[in-house]
């Protein structure tokens, strides 16, 4: 169409840190103001996916993936999506956020608390809201996660 800019390069980037930040912002804002949560249902379900992947250790070969992401010429010509970079960075950021918000507690227990808060915030008519203490810890967890994910 005349006057419009070309679509950006399809392989320009796929950085796990940026994707994780968008998720953390959606979660933080929804916990702070549950009235907006319904409008962010899709994003909050993706926060849940991220937490489940972390719980299941799906980032187990993040370093290997990063090594394989150094694509050659043939790979960059394909239209297939690029390998996501910096997953290990996100895994470490999640680890540190749990250490800050849930010091001394198991990873599984911490994730369960955060997921329960997200569930109640997203579907208030179907799930009971956990205690205020748990709400505060979940909010702090996402604050810390965002802080850990800052990059220039």
């Amino acid at each position: 169409m005349e006057g419009s800019m070309p679509i950006m390069a399809a392989h320009s980037r796929n950085d796990a840190r940026g994707a994780a930040r968008l998720l953390a912002i959606a979660a933080r804002d929804s916990i702070a103001n549950p009235a907006v949560a319904h409008d962010r249902e899709v994003a909050l379900n993706n926060v849940y996916r991220l937490l489940e992947a972390f719980r299941a250790n799906a980032f187990f070969d993040a370093d290997l993936s990063a090594r394989q992401s150094q694509q050659g010429t043939a790979d960059t010509l394909t239209l297939l999506p690029p390998v996501q970079r910096n997953q290990g960075y996100v895994r470490d950021a999640l680890d540190r956020a749990i250490g800050s918000a849930f010091a001394g507690e198991s990873r599984d227990h911490a994730i369960e608390i955060v997921e329960n808060v997200l569930r109640a915030v997203t579907y208030p008519n179907e799930f009971r809201m956990p205690s205020r203490v748990d709400q505060r810890r979940a909010a702090y967890f996402f604050d810390e996660l965002l802080r850990n994910l800052q990059f220039s």
Binding site: N14, G18, R21, I25, A43, E52, L64, L79
Partner: protein, 254 residues
């Protein structure tokens, strides 16, 4: 043009690209759900953009990256055409992948992936959405890429049994079972128990000629004999597990 204006312009570009995909005919029916998911993601991104402050440059940049990835998914709508691969085989593969890769939502509802078959010039590949998901996705895309030139060599397609295991390893359900049970069993006894035993086994006098040749080249290049590292051993274990997985699904052809 401000960064936010640029983001809005890019959004319109991607929206236009999705609209243009409707000009063609693709594989039987399946492209509808793929198209709808792309449309739904655009709609979610549109809502997010409306909330962004013009000064939130990092968030604008993150949304640009999300749009860029969506543009890649959209471009793949056009790569799935009738006649470029064996549809009965593709349908069977779709059935297996759906069983392995289905997820649960926050509410506990079942969320099936969208399996999209494309013809590519390269090798056999399965591309799953990354472990850190895009904020806008409802269902995950799984791209199964067939090498177009091997369309009639159905026995080779069984390589997908191996590739499917690589994909399943990154899921919260099947991945946990594969790593906890299969990988643990493979490394509990035998030559892959630790790096030292693996190195001894690989360098055995009765090793295949090709292995000896490769080890000799390595030693010549690096000035020392090859020795397994943790990462190398993990890669071997993963490949071995994927071979067994493919063997169970498709038999020896995989």
């Amino acid at each position: 043009m401000t960064p936010l204006e640029f983001l809005r312009e890019e959004f319109e570009n991607v929206k236009r690209a999705l609209g243009e995909t409707l000009r063609y005919e693709y594989g039987p029916e399946r492209s509808i759900e793929y198209y709808s998911e792309c449309q739904s993601r655009l709609s979610e991104i549109d809502k997010s953009i409306a909330r962004i402050s013009a000064s939130a440059k990092n968030t604008i940049s993150d949304h640009l990256a999300e749009l860029s990835l969506l543009a890649t998914w959209i471009s793949l709508v056009e790569r799935s055409r009738l006649g470029e691969f064996s549809w009965p085989f593709a349908d069977e593969l779709r059935r297996m992948a759906t069983a392995l890769l289905t997820e649960k939502t926050l509410k506990g509802d079942r969320r099936d992936p969208i399996i999209h078959i494309v013809a590519e010039g390269g090798g056999y590949r399965i591309v799953y959405e990354p472990s850190v998901p895009a904020a806008s996705g409802r269902r995950r895309f799984v791209i199964v890429a067939f090498p177009r030139s091997l369309k009639h060599h159905v026995l080779l397609h069984s390589i997908f049994g191996h590739e499917l295991c690589h994909t399943a390893l990154h899921t919260a359900q099947a991945g946990v079972a594969l790593r906890a049970e299969v990988m643990a069993a493979l490394s509990a006894i035998g030559p892959l128990v630790d790096n030292s035993m693996a190195t001894t086994w690989l360098s055995a006098a009765n090793a295949p000629r090709e292995i000896k040749a490769a080890l000799s080249i390595y030693a010549g290049r690096h000035g020392r004999p090859y020795a397994f590292t943790d990462l190398d051993r993990q890669m071997w274990l993963i490949e071995l597990m994927c071979d067994l997985f493919g063997l169970l699904l498709f038999g020896p052809a995989s």
